[in-house]
Amino acid sequence: MATETTKNEQKEAQGNAKKDNLQNIDYKMISFTLAGKDYGINILRVKEIRKAGNFTFVPNTPAFVLGVDNLRGDIIPIIDLRIMFNLPAPKKAENELENIIILRLDELIIGIVVDTIEKVVGINSSTIQPPHPIFGDINIKYISGVVENQGKLYILLDANRIFEQEKDEPSSTSPAASMDEPEEEKPHLSQDVAPKTNEEEININFILETLATFANFHVTKLNERWIVDHYSDWQKKRSQSKKSVQLESKEDAEALLQGFFSRFNNQVWPPSYAHGLVDKLDIQGNGPIQVWNPGCGSGVETYSLLMALKTKFPKRQIKVFANDNDLLSISNAPNLSLPDPSGYPEWADYVVKGKNGYSLKTELKNLILFEFHDIAHMNPFYGLDLIVARDVLSFLKESQQVKVMEDFHEKLKKGGSLVLGDHEVAVDYSLWNIIEEDGYRLFRKN
């Protein structure tokens, strides 16, 4: 991952960006604050952003060297820019984490501690003005220029100079870092899907962050394959419509995620799809069949699933726990009206016509318990035969995804099945037996 960025590559990257972008943004920087003032640093120098604390102190180093930190196996020095530039640095509590920007220059990696990390700012490099010699706060040798963007003045720091200051300090060891450890709440791609070029990787990494901001969609091992596979399509689509490949609004994020959602999302499942899924289940015995459908949304998914289960197991008792954390959708779920069943004659037996259109028969509805519930909280279910959680985990933070996956495993009976979204996979293969047939993917508890 730590590939060398040469000056040429950099120019090339900037040149390409220019062609793609009408607004002529050819320079991107990460903006951050130090003592209340805005600063920027060239994005091509930034390897990643993270939060960390409790650094290992190294004796006999300048005061601004906070120590060393373990970045997924790489030992990197951490310096505090505020101390380095003689700015006030608020004292942190012992376990409080610092905001860190990890910078990369060739093989060297260091982490700089700043007050807050704001966002990515795109500017035109011709608007960067040289620093004036009377700049006070920060020694001028670290400043490469000043730029104005949307009413804010950013002081651009020269990352190379910071490295120069730093080069006598302990530097990173081997670049062959293990990328397998999940990083705290920061989206990143794992080694096996990471793209080849630096520019692409940086672009994708920023898409990942903006996806989390705009759509609350967290890219992890669960779903990263889809994002990487669709990145080039997205790039093409955006350059055709002369828009930046980066996401600039909620709408952009939604447009990118179009196609991520599973088949028949938010509509009645065609009987063939629903029956095919139920046929793959391994449901034994004759006790009640217990199903959990988190993230059921409007409830139409729950209804479809129940109709298929009822067809396959007409004599068995069935109980479905359906929940969602969207109050509006879930409040309407018990009284949801269904479309005219003439399109699906196999479902017609389960549907009745009322004043407000078609709805599920009451005796079937009574088998479903709709709850306003956040899956990230305590989940009170146990002994389940089936969990259907399509496109739910992707909208949880990485740590929550891990916790909920553990919950799923714990709540299922042995041999019980988990259905995730069409573009989501269970990560821990030792716990799950993957059944992939006829376009269905089920995870069966070992």
């Binding site: 954390n325 109050l327 879930i330 409040s331 779920a333 018990p334 318990l369 709709f370 709850e371 306003f372 519930h373 956040d374 909280h377 305590m378 009170p380």
Partner: protein, 154 residues
């Protein structure tokens, strides 16, 4: 929490508060909470039993409690005395009772336990096994939070 339970509590709280306070009540956005939550100062708690198990907690600051009790008793009260405590307890009882009546009409059987009133500083409430629905209400006397934690009897 079962979706059918949500509206009766929100409506009952809104109706009773508007009626006894005679002022405009603004309902905040409902949300779920599973970890512990700090209690503002005066908390009335009503237990629920029957087909479900759980409790409803009415939480407000001391001065909000004083102002609400003053309005309800039509006299100026300045200290958390027995009258104020009885008034807030009664308010909790009225809201829960109306909610339970509405739920009864929908076919859910709930029983109430006598309310208890807790006052003090720096308290928190935590429900280990059930997430709480928080219904924030605002009026000119201050904020009031209704914290409903109910689960089906398993």
């Amino acid at each position: 929490m079962r979706v059918e339970y949500i509206n009766p509590f929100v409506e009952a709280a809104y109706n009773i508060l508007s009626e006894v306070l005679g002022t405009e009540i603004i309902r905040g956005n409902l949300f779920l909470k599973s970890s512990s939550r700090s209690v503002m100062g005066v908390a009335a708690i009503v237990g629920l039993a029957g087909e479900v198990e759980g409790r409803v907690l009415f939480d407000m600051k001391k001065d909000t409690a004083l102002k609400i009790a003053s309005v309800m008793n039509m006299e100026e009260l300045t200290q958390i005395d027995d009258l104020v405590k009885a008034t807030i307890t009664e308010l909790a009882n009225m809201i829960t009772a109306q909610a339970v009546t509405k739920l009864h009409e929908l076919g859910f059987r709930f029983d109430l336990t006598p309310p208890a009133l807790i006052t003090g500083e720096n308290m928190e409430v935590s429900d280990q096994e059930v997430e709480a629905l928080i219904v924030p209400m605002e009026c000119e006397h201050g904020n009031l939070e209704i914290n409903v934690a109910i689960r089906e009897r398993g």
